[in-house]
Amino acid sequence: MRREVQQEELLRVPVHMKLHYRFPAGAHYERFFKEMKETGRIMGVRCPECRRVLVPPRPVCGECFARTEEWVQVGPKGTVVAYTSICFSFIDLTTGKPRPIPYGAGLIQLDGAYSAINHILEEGDPGKLYIGMRVEAVLKEKREGNIGDILYFKGIEE
């Protein structure tokens, strides 16, 4: 049984943890962002063993334990393989502002890619989103070389 506490409030010590990191992206991510910034092309890498195209590109295919070096263009069209509608806001680290709610979030398999990428969906109404929905990447005009260069994916008619 819980002991009755006489005091109004027990001491709680506030702890603030603030740290800064500079996360080394590595050559694969650097090329991915450079290509998107300069040419607007979304790139993946093909595994030399299983031949799957990994997006975002990474130096190793974990399943085959093999280095990936062959670059291929994917998208910008793709298919929604999972989606949700987010009703709580978060501070967008790239803008420092809360993202307006609700917004759609999904996993998008870009045409030509094996793996799907996480991104924002323009459509935020869960009634209008569906698995298998065709979408296309909408890129920023002034791209900066980060994942926010893709603004969102918008639904398309085909």
Partner: protein, 380 residues
């Protein structure tokens, strides 16, 4: 008793102040491939994986998850030690002794360049009583240094000679980050950070990784031409609160080493060991640890160093690699000591080779001022 676990593969990266030119996963993949090639095993041969890394250094929650692909852990069991890499090697040994694994890969990685040393080591301490007082690994180390030095009459110049030996010997180690000839005056003249610890008494902060492949007795015999056996292992924790400990006493290391020596049948470590790699983040710690490991009497660490007994060519070379003073990838340090010990008993340590080395000691610590202690004896 016949040793049941062997190291059949070992690899380390060069330790550098900033490996920002490649992603962590690239560093780890390279070191893992090297260790596996050294062992002659493929990914399918790995039964389990044990990693060592610390979230606060990695800037990610459960940061071992980013390594899954590059340590070959997809569809395999992986567990992580959030601390020193030699602790991960202990876990790896246990996976084999428990009979759940015949071949276990042990990997440790840290990017010292990414995080903030002061904050991360400050957050080790109790937020209610200690953190706000500014306690960190350096200031705590200074308390231990002073306590030890006052009790046994060790001078700052005695500690400076550790730095000189290690930086000099590191010139033989291609993986070292810092290596050069230095003088006692240079160490004495380097800026005072926390009395009596000066800038040159402190290990640098490094980026790097290590990987070791462990195998059961049967697998080691079948696969390896040069298995290096784990002859003894001991680990022990002291209390967390500095004020509860005898800082110069080091009971945990005495117990951990006695356990390891007992298993390995060693009664006189100075005579029976051929080389020791110890994890000393500060110069005074190398003296303190060599005493607690029983290489000499209490207070005699500086004396055996000055006599050259712990130098390359001496009775028992300590840290011929240069130790942590030559490169300190924080939580990787202990596994680096094991890799060095393995290279020594294989006779593959290049210019830092201790001639005819057959038995080597690897030492690791975790927590503040050596709260946790790991000792491993390897031999062929």
């Amino acid at each position: 008793m016949n040793p049941q676990v062997a190291v059949i593969g070992a690899s380390q990266t060069k330790f550098e102040s900033d490996k920002g030119y490649e992603a962590i996963i690239e560093t780890v993949f390279n070191v893992v491939l090297e260790a596996m090639a050294d062992a002659g095993v493929k990914r399918d041969d790995l039964d389990s994986i044990v990693t060592s890394s610390v979230d606060l250094w990695d800037g990610r929650t459960a940061s071992n998850q980013m390594l899954t692909d590059v340590v070959g852990a997809i569809m395999k069991p992986e567990s992580r030690v959030a601390g020193d890499g030699l602790g991960a090697a202990f876990q790896g040994i246990m996976t084999i002794l428990a009979g759940v694994s015949e071949i276990t890969l042990v990997v440790s990685q840290c990017r010292g360049s990414m995080g903030a040393y002061y904050e991360i080591s400050n957050w080790v301490f109790d937020p209610i009583y200690q953190q706000t007082l500014g306690l960190d690994y350096l200031s705590a180390g200074a308390l231990q240094a002073n306590h030890y030095m006052k009790q046994f009459g060790i001078s700052q110049k005695d500690c400076a000679r550790v730095v000189i030996k290690n930086l000099r010997d590191a010139q033989n180690n291609p993986y070292a980050q810092v290596a050069r000839e230095a003088t006692v005056d240079e160490v004495m003249d380097s800026p005072m950070l926390a009395y009596p610890i000066k800038e040159m008494d402190v290990a640098p902060i490094s980026d790097g990784a290590c990987a070791v492949v462990l195998a059961s007795r049967e697998k080691a015999k079948a696969l390896s031409k040069k298995p290096i056996w784990i002859l003894g292992a001991g680990s022990c924790l002291d209390s967390h609160y500095l004020g509860d400990r005898d800082l110069a006493g080091g009971d945990a290391l005495i117990r951990a080493s006695k356990k390891a020596y007992g298993m390995a049948g060693i009664s006189d470590p100075l005579e029976e060991l051929d080389v020791a790699e110890v994890s000393a983040a500060f110069s005074y710690q190398e003296l303190l640890w060599t005493e607690l490991l029983g290489f000499c009497g209490r207070g005699e660490g500086a004396k055996i160093l000055q006599k050259g007994m712990t130098s390359l060519g001496g009775t028992l070379p300590v840290n011929p690699s240069g130790g942590m003073i030559a490169g300190n990838p924080v939580t990787v340090a202990g596994l680096t000591r094991l890799v060095e010990a393995v290279l020594q008993v294989r006779g593959e340590a290049g210019a830092r080779q201790v001639r005819g080395a057959r038995k080597a000691l690897a030492h690791g610590t975790t927590g503040c001022c050596g709260q946790g202690q790991y000792v491993m004896i390897v031999g062929n």
